[in-house]
């Protein structure tokens, strides 16, 4: 039981760490790199580029 609670805590802590990391990336401006790639047709993805 104790082990389960601990490992659930691990999941929650990792999820929070993920949010924090994503926030750091957004702050660095990584989201605009993702956006710019996603709004142009990705020639590599479709097998042309």
């Amino acid at each position: 039981m104790k082990r389960q609670l601990q490992s659930s805590k691990a999941g929650i802590l990792l999820a929070l760490a993920g949010l924090l990391m994503a926030g750091v990336g957004m702050h660095r401006g990584e989201m605009s790199t993702v956006f710019e790639k996603a709004v142009k047709i990705c020639m590599e993805c479709i097998g042309i580029g």
Binding site: M1, S32, V34, A38
Partner: protein, 294 residues
């Protein structure tokens, strides 16, 4: 039991289909051969879902990760890695079972009748490690190391491997745009050959792309045993009949490893268990006191 199994799997497919439609709901893109350019594309989707699909309203996390790693100004993708950490820590490969359009595509292909479906083969276990190599080499290393004079790396997984990009982006866009049709070359042929191979293999083997190739499945697999939503086995209730393992199309032996990295949380084992010994567990809650959560 088979009827129950079928009804359960179709219920899951309905959820997968609704999710695939919601996340690819820019239907005008299919009519006009163009892609959505709105602000939702800032956001990653949890499943493998090509952002060059005319209907896509979000970004593929694997494509996004390569875009950031391969950009000249960033090398570590905090935003995408953080998103994957968040989604993985909450759900693990539940994403694969429910929230991935390419997973649904393979599920449906596997329903096509064929006299002899392949459950396993001698190199199966070894091949399952391939997805981790593909993640390390094509998603991380090559875009980081093989760069042009501006310091930019290409998305090598998308370019050389991803059949989801060919299916969701390559086929509709090339069919709908004459200028693109005139630009196709060996790479397009190669990627279509890989898509065809994936389709044929999916009829014979359950989810071959997820088992052997998918780098996103590789990422989420690392979280299956710590994810907030995961399985637990009630060892007191379990009678060791093996019905769960026999029902599992991913060939997970649940009694040995209830949260195996290969489990996509499809729920077939839960439905097959005659004594209801497999549960979804939630953070901090346990329905039975004598259970094994790892």
């Amino acid at each position: 039991m088979d009827k129950r199994k079928d009804a359960g799997s179709w219920n899951r497919h309905k959820i997968q289909a609704v999710w695939a439609l919601l996340t690819n709901s820019y239907l005008i893109g299919f009519a006009q051969g163009r892609i959505y350019k709105g602000s939702l594309k800032n956001l990653c989707l949890p499943g493998l879902s090509c952002y060059s699909c005319p209907g896509a309203v979000g970004s593929c996390p694997i494509g996004a990760m390569q875009a950031v790693i391969g950009s000249w100004n960033f090398k570590f993708p905090f935003y995408v890695a953080g998103f994957l950490l968040f989604a993985g820590a909450l759900m693990g490969r539940f994403v694969c079972g429910y929230l991935c359009p390419f997973g649904l595509f393979q599920d449906l292909l596997h329903k096509i009748p064929f006299p002899k479906k392949i459950k396993t083969f001698p190199a199966d276990a070894l091949l399952r490690k391939l997805k981790y190599v593909i993640l390390a080499v094509f998603v991380v290393l090559l875009p980081m190391v093989v760069v042009d004079i501006l310091g930019q790396g290409a998305p090598y997984f998308c370019k050389l491997i991803c059949p989801a990009g060919t299916l969701e982006g390559g086929l509709p866009l090339v069919l709908l745009n004459e200028s693109m049709r005139s630009a196709i070359g060996w790479l397009y042929v190669w990627k279509n050959a890989l898509l065809l191979l994936t389709i044929v293999a999916s009829v014979l083997i359950y989810r071959p792309f997820c088992k052997y190739i998918c780098p996103l499945g590789a990422v989420y697999s690392a979280f299956n045993s710590v994810a907030v939503f995961r399985y637990q086995l009630d060892q007191e209730a379990c009678i060791g009949c093996g019905a769960c393992a026999a029902s599992c199309e991913m060939q997970v032996d649940l009694i040995k490893h209830i949260n195996s990295p290969e489990c996509i949380r499809c729920g077939a084992c839960k439905r097959a268990c005659p004594v209801g010994a497999i549960h979804f567990r939630q953070a901090g809650k346990s329905r039975q006191s004598n259970t094994t959560g790892l």
